[in-house]
């Protein structure tokens, strides 16, 4: 990781923006298999646990899986790493219609913004917002997810 211009070892927000913004995720596609539908519903303690219905949280999980970057790589785009304690700060799920088992969907996404904040208790941290969209093969919107990732910057002053 590159160091900041102040010599603290933390990247500057401009460095992070240069790395994360202005380039889309590679993207990709996914098909939810029956076993995935079952396991995710079971893992989130859903009322309906079956191989035939898809829990709405799969709009985030599956889109993340087909974005063309792993979470670890997304942390890297923001000049951080899992070992530095990044956290999910917020999520917005806009659901146009339910996902279906066995149907192929296309995912696109990108980082939208990076902001540096300073808190009395948390110290310096960065908030990076990314979006993921899911469309069917006819390009109809199925869902949009917007998430913020929080990156502690202990070395920043």
């Amino acid at each position: 990781m590159s160091g900041g211009p102040d010599g603290t070892g933390a990247p500057s927000v401009d460095e992070i923006r240069a790395s994360a913004l202005g380039r889309p995720f590679p993207g990709g596609s996914f098909v939810i298999e029956p076993w995935e539908a079952f396991l995710v519903a079971d893992a989130v303690a859903a009322d309906e646990i079956s191989q035939h219905s898809v829990h709405p949280i799969q709009n985030y999980f599956a889109a993340l899986g087909a974005a063309g970057v792993t979470l670890d790589e997304m942390f890297g785009w923001c000049l951080s790493a899992a070992s530095e304690g990044p956290m999910l700060g917020s999520t917005r799920l806009e659901l146009s219609r339910p996902l279906e088992v066995g149907v192929r969907y296309v995912v696109e996404g990108s980082f939208l913004s990076v902001e540096r904040k300073r808190g009395a208790r948390a110290g310096v941290f960065d908030i990076a917002i990314f979006e993921l969209t899911i469309r069917d093969l006819d390009a109809q919107l199925v869902a949009r997810t917007e998430c913020s990732l929080i990156f502690p910057r202990k070395a920043a002053v």
């Binding site: 995935e36 396991l39 995710v40 079971d42 893992a43 989130v44 303690a45 859903a46 009322d47 309906e48 219905s53 829990h55 709405p56 949280i57 985030y60 999980f61 993340l64 899986g65 792993t70 979470l71 670890d72 942390f75 899992a82 070992s83 304690g85 990044p86 956290m87 999910l88 700060g89 917020s90 999520t91 917005r92 799920l93 806009e94 659901l95 219609r97 339910p98």
Partner: protein
């Protein structure tokens, strides 16, 4: 009758499962070790129980909304912030109340405040949601 102030029936997980945390981390290739490695949790100063993934906490809120509104297909929009951790073994309860009801083209929908709290009363997730209301009298109102 559903209207502003109506309470959504709460939805509870008696004990959040550490095994489910591992499963979700594997399914979504989440490298963040606090979800599956107790040593990492200790090193982060977060105690000695794995931390539930934020999106799973969101899923609990969706479960509450879906049960109330007649199915997951009626959950239209959920927007939340994660403000405190949920740990393995915690009891968590999803709660919500109706902020307003809208009518659009014969379809009613409710704007709701939603939150997830631990057994000790700590609010861990807070936000808003929109659900389609399937029909007057079809969904329960507990207050």
């Amino acid at each position: 009758m559903i209207g502003p102030g109506s309470q959504i029936p709460p939805w509870t997980v008696p004990a959040v499962s550490a095994e489910s945390m591992k499963l979700v981390a594997a399914l979504i290739r989440d490298p963040t070790p606090i979800h599956w490695d107790v040593q990492a949790v200790r090193a982060a100063g977060l105690g000695d129980k794995p931390v539930n993934g934020g999106a799973v906490n969101l899923a609990y809120l969706i479960n509450m909304l879906a049960r109330w509104a007649g199915g997951t297909q009626n959950v239209v929009d959920v927007d939340v912030r994660y403000v405190a951790n949920v740990f393995a073994g915690d009891t968590v309860t999803a709660r919500g109340s109706v902020r307003s009801v809208r009518e659009d083209g014969g379809q009613s929908s409710a704007e709701c405040d939603v939150w997830l709290e631990r057994g000790d009363g700590t609010v861990c997730v807070t936000g808003t949601a929109t659900v389609r209301l399937p029909g007057v009298g079809d969904i329960p109102d507990v207050g």
